[in-house]
Every structure is written in C-alpha cells, then in structure tokens.
Subunit: 235 residues, 2 copies
DNA sequence: ACCTGAACACCGTTCAAGT
DNA sequence: ACCTGAACACCGTTCAAGT
C-alpha cells in the first residue's frame, strides 16, 4: 500500500522469506495474543509483513491454516508428553496415562483457543490419530483388550487431550452478591443451594467456586478408576 | 428488490407478521436443513420472506439469533425430559438421570449443529442453568451432597445434555480397505491393531466400527457407576 | 410500528499482472 | 518462483428513508 522506506527496513526484523512454517507460527502467536476471531487471512498477512494473497503460496486456504495451527499445537503436546516423568505403562498404566494427559492439558492452557479449533476440524488430523495411538499403546501395555481400549477412547473423548468444553459455568460464582443469589434461588433452587453451600465451605472465597484443575483431575481419576474396574472384571 | 406480484401472494404462505418466535423457528429449520454455515442473516430473512434488515426489529443481532436457537432446542429438551418414563429420583437416581440424559440426546440427534452452537455461547444460557438445576435436583434426591453433586456436573460436562464432541473418528473405519490399513499400520500400529481387531469381531461389517449410541451409553454408565461409588463411600 | 434499500467495513478468494 | 493490487461474492450491521 504505502511504499517501503528505509525506515521500514531498519525497524522490521530481517526479511525472512515467507514459508508455511513461519505462517503457521505467526497464526498461533496471533490467536494466543488476540483470540481466534483475530485470525483472519488479512491480519495474518500483516503479522508476517506481507499481503494477504501471498499466504496462498504457502497454504491452500484458511482451512489449511486451521489444520496447520492444530499441527503446531499437537507438536507441542507430543514434545511435552515425551518429556514428562511418568511410570512405565506396563507397571502402572493409570499413572502413565494420567501424567501424559495432564502434560497435554498444560500445553492447551497456553493455547485456550485450540480446543475450539480442534473440534471444528471435519477430518481427523493425523497428529490427533498419532496422539490417540499413543494412548492405545499405554492401555495395551496396561493389559487392555483392543475392545476395551476402544471403549476407553470414547469414554475419555477430548479429556484424553487434556480438555473438556464446559457448558455450565455458574456466572454469579465469582461475585455471589446476596441479591443475585436470591433472584436465582426462585428459578434455580438446586443450583442456588449448591452455590450457597460452596460459599459456606470457603467463607473467604479466595479460591473461587470452581477450581477447574481440581475438578479435571477428579473427573479423570473417576474415569480411570472405572476403566481399571472394567479391565480386571472383563477379559 | 423485485416488486411483489399477485403470483407471489398466491404462492407464498399467508403473510404472517414477523416475530421473534417465527424468526427463531425458521433459524432452527434452516440449520437443520442446510447446516450451520447456511444460517446467515440474509438467508434467514429470505426464509421468512423479508429483508435482512427486518430481522433486526425482532432480534438484537446475530448473537441473539444463536442465543435464540439454543433457547428453542433447550425448550424441546425440557419437554422431552418431562415426558420421559423414568423411575423416581429418590428410588433410583441413576435410572432417573440416565433416562433424562438419553431423552436429551434424542433431541440433539435431530439438531446435530446444536452442540457446536451451545459450546460457542460465551454467557451461560438461563435454559442451560435450568437444565442443570434439574440434574442437581435428581442427584440431591438420590442422596448426593451439594459438593459431590457439583463434582458430578463437572464429570458429566456436556454428557449431561446428551452429547460429547468426538475428536477422534477413525476415518478408514467404514471402508477399511487392505491398502489403507497397511499404510496406517506403520505410523499408527496400535490404532491399526484396534481397527483390525474390531473388523475381525464383526466380519460382516454391517454394524460399522463405532456404534456411537452404544459407546455413549457405555461411557455414561461407567461415569454413573463411579459417582454412585463416591456417593456411598463419602457422605 | 414495522419494514426496506443503499451503503459501510469487513471477510475469503480468483485473477491477471508485476519482479 | 514468489509476491501483489484490484476485483468479486459474500458477511454483519448502520442509517436514513419509506409505509
């Protein structure tokens, strides 16, 4: 648009030629910083110091960008999962799987937009299949039949990758002022009671109503429990 | 755009005045028929025989339309859940909850786009809170503490409304031709083994690899099991 | 009060043209 | 080979004008 000046040359980082890798890294950074809605072809181009149309030489279209950022994030997960200190699957499949799932979760907590993108993909990414292949490997080493391992994948669902989409986030939870709770009590008596009870248990309220990490681990352990029970019962 | 003619008068259904209710019903029908991407303000207007701008007299904006279609679907769920034959919660909380969840699932199977919209809402809809209020009511009647009921909501997550977003749908499952499986075996040995085993169990293949309804119920029962175990253990 | 057309500020993407 | 500007067919939405 405006002609390039020497000033541009000096303030810009050295002119690296565009590449698929660089486009995708920029896309992840952009989504981290400004959210998923900010990830448009035009803004992404701006981010790498090019015009929107230049991107099309390195990615087929926007869907390919979204596939690509999934690839980047799953790369980070694969690396984190490899590095994690965990017992051998043959000795303790639960410990092995639990540690890996929590490591994956740590990565997704740094890319909060990623679960939504992951769920929007219509064809399963090879990297997702590879991740689940690792999960099945752990289960097999822990003594699961293929059949029960298959069921385990369905029970775990996205939790195997360390996240669950929460539909229900009680709004008044952080600031449960008496008035809002009172209005709520009429329409949602059970929820209101639950909230009141939680506040009572923790009068300072500093912990907040929902400690998501705690809840995630509680749910994960309940499921791992149930799977272990099925494993020893069946076969 | 083109002037109205008598022919239009005759072929159109009788001119009902626009209303929020009518706009939202049309939005649900449109999404059912042509998918979520087809749900644009312009196409929606066309659907009710008006211009796009006319919609704004009945809904604030597109977000309000999405909130509205959630409202409609949750209305259907509330009706289905009320009608379902289920044991009394005080006698059998598991049976009571299970029947309601499967009834909710039936509704969502008729509106497959609805889970994605539900998950896209940034503020929790009052209708979602009302639904979860009912769930807590059942758990309380079944002898749950507020604390354990709260955890149960987190464990169930969207499964309480009858759906789970599946990240992992093995593609070759429906047509596991030998070549594709062989290519897969190298990169995803465990998944390939799982697929091969499943095919072996069901040589006709008519059932397909994943019976989602079966898997949904298996996972649901595993979770209800685990919750019952926590309930009798704790207190 | 209810509805509308034109217009605005955005999208993703195609195409023909530049170096 | 790589990048670009203009243009196209869409979005959601504002505004001033119609009945």
């Amino acid at each position: 648009m405006t002609p390039r000046t020497d000033a541009d040359e000096l303030t810009e980082r050295p002119r690296v030629p565009l590449s698929r890798r660089r486009v995708l890294r920029a896309a992840v950074e952009l989504a981290d910083r400004d959210g998923l809605d900010a990830l448009t072809m035009r803004r992404l181009a701006q981010e790498v110091g090019a015009e929107a149309m230049s991107l099309y030489h390195h990615v087929a279209n926007k869907e390919a960008v979204l596939d690509g950022v999934v690839e980047v994030v799953l790369g980070e997960i694969a690396a984190a999962v490899e590095d994690v200190a965990a017992p051998a699957a043959a000795d303790d499949w639960r410990g092995a799987l639990r540690a890996r799932i929590l490591a994956a979760r740590d990565v997704l907590l740094r890319h909060r937009w990623a679960p939504a993108v992951l769920e929007s993909r219509t064809t399963t990414s090879p990297d997702v299949i590879a991740y689940y292949d690792g999960v099945v490997g752990i289960l097999r080493a822990g003594g699961f039949s293929f059949d029960l391992a298959h069921r385990a994948l369905h029970v775990l669902g996205s939790r195997a990758l360390g996240f669950t989409q929460e539909l229900f986030r009680p709004d008044g939870a952080e600031a449960p002022d008496a008035e809002a709770v009172a209005g709520m009590a009429e329409r949602f008596p059970n929820i209101a009671g639950m909230l009141a009870d939680a506040v009572h248990d923790d009068p300072d309220g500093t912990l907040g109503f929902c400690d998501d990490q705690f809840e995630f681990e509680f749910a994960l352990d309940l499921i791992l429990d149930g799977l272990e029970r099925r494993r020893t019962a069946g076969s």
